[in-house]
């Protein structure tokens, strides 16, 4: 830790620390933020879902996009082995998009979940 010589230095430090805290703070009021769920319907799809989850997470970070990102297993809801993303914007309902790849998921998010 280095001594903070001015109030401005504290504010700069605050900003640099805000990232991790932001996720914790957003989770306090999830409906005020974009929520994204990577949903998978079979245990065989875990690895694929994890990859997509990671890419969305990195995409959000590089684009400074505030999203609440979770993984969600929909057990027994259908027999298909799929990965999809569900997106919810503040004030709207959840929308589900079946996807084949991470790129597809990112395109959906880039378009604001309206693809």
């Amino acid at each position: 830790m280095r001594k903070l010589k001015s109030f401005e230095e504290l504010l700069t430090l605050q900003k640099s620390l805000a990232g991790d805290m932001r996720i914790r703070e957003m989770s306090n009021s999830p409906d005020d933020h974009i929520q994204v769920r990577v949903t998978f319907t079979s245990e065989e799809k875990i690895a694929e879902a994890a990859g997509i989850y990671r890419e969305i997470s990195e995409f959000a970070e590089t684009g400074n996009m505030d999203i609440i990102l979770t993984r969600y297993f929909r057990d027994g809801e259908n027999n298909e082995k799929t990965v999809s993303i569900e997106v919810k914007h503040p004030g709207n309902e959840w929308k589900c998009y079946n996807i084949e790849s991470a790129d597809e998921a990112l395109r959906i998010l880039e378009k604001g979940g309206a693809a």
């Binding site: 430090l13 605050q14 979770t70 297993f73």
Partner: protein
Amino acid sequence: MKHVKSFILVCGGTGCRASESALIADDFRNMVRQLAIEDQTAVISVGCFGFCEKGPIVKIIPDNTFYTNVSRADVEEILKEHIIMGRPVHRLLYENPETHEKISDSKHMDFYRKQKRIALRNCGFIDPENINDYIARRGYEALGTVLSKYTPAETIDIIKRSGLRGRGGGGFPTGLKWEFASKSVSNEKYVVCNADEGDPGAFMDRSILEGDPNSIIEAMAICGYSIGASRGLVYIRAEYPLAVHRLEVAISQAREYGLLGDAIFGTDFSFDIEIRYGAGAFVCGEETALIHSMEGHRGEPTVKPPFPAVKGYMGKPTNVNNVETFANVPVIILNGPEWFSSIGTERSKGTKVFALAGKINNVGLIEVPMGTTLREVIYEIGGGIKNGKKFKAVQTGGPSGGCLTEEHLDIPIDFDNLLAAGSMMGSGGMIVMDEDDCMVSVAKFYLEFIVEESCGKCVPCRIGNRRLYEMLDKITKGKGTEEDLEYIENLSKVIKDTALCGLGQTSPNPVLSTLEHFRDEYLAHVRDKTCPAGKCRALMHYVIDPEKCVGCTACARACPAEAITGERKQKHEIDQNKCIKCGACYEKCKFSAINIA
């Protein structure tokens, strides 16, 4: 910079640690490493979540899943199922006791729905041993704002306009207290944080210090700037080792950042804090006694004036506020006095933290806006009375407070309403009693505590309270008379009028309030020699109902005094001369054949 996406927040408060939460957190850390998911999952020990009844508590972020009664055996399942597979572990979710519905998000639980967390804003949210967590939540921004934008007088004015009143018991306006200290002229002044939380069952201040120690440090520095003090002292009871440790860590980290020490933020304001340890004397919660204890003298109060604002620690002007009062200060500076004063009632602004205990379903730490009714606290947040029993009374204000009844349940809680009802806010202890509690015994319990804790300096408290206790003891043993009730009432009033300090003056409150609201119970003890709640052992008689007794001999075998006789498959009898009223027979009988008369 890469940020983790999931957080496992493990309650690191004293209550949950007693149920191995520190080991649970370690297990999580080890297994996160084993599963190689450190880059996306962080495990953090946080302060108390408040819902102590359901601890140890683990919260998963960002989906806000709230797991209750977690044990070390659950760690692997939570990680593999929830974090990796995205499947919440249903059996660990909170279950609504009425609907039996599983609730995942704490915001939808009755316990949290009506709460507003200001003083507890960071408890259960940040790592109290990492100052960066506090800074990321606008920590020390209030101090920086004050030092760069406001004069000391303007800062005091903000606190005055907020309407903040002392949360330690008296409810004195905080801004006014600061103003008195600021106007005292001296080459040295002190800021003291009173963390000598002594009420039985109260743990508000401990939880704040354990969960958010930096907020107290920041507030003390703001106070120091406002009154012209460069030294702060935290008087904390040594029985709070975790709070002491976290405070020490926070002070050391604040010094490293230069947030304590010389020329804070490059200004000419310097401030530092020392810790002083109390030995757990209740009277040292009184500010003059506390100051004497810090000076190395006996913890005895002195007559005011002079007030500590004029002549306090080492004879210098001293401002004393309690932990919860300080915890509100940084937020008031950041959000403005109008924001704070918009919460609460006409004369009591903001929120109040209560330690909810006794015969209530949801024991724990809560923070509600002033003006919330006792009914809301007990039945909605507290989940009602345990085992479906009938509510009898609620004791607020600790040993200095009083017992309130059913008729007071719709009173909006604030300093003045509780006082008008014959109790007081106190520091925030709230103990709920049901139909099985004897109110004479309750009054006796508090008196016993006061007698034990009286510093002995003034006669009314030292001798008066002992006499009161003896009278109550006599009544609970069936030896009291109606004249005794009058005597008790008169003596209580004399103690109130003549005791030296606030603690002595309020010590008869539990007696007076129970006499007022539960006089019938006192009369039953002195006239009929019975205890309606069946609690006073000397007034109880165990009798065997011959209609129900099957002669199983279980009671006779359980009786340690050999007071029960009877042949197998024959009706049994209790010899009242031998019976020691231990209740072993009552607990053993499977046929409900033993009654308490």
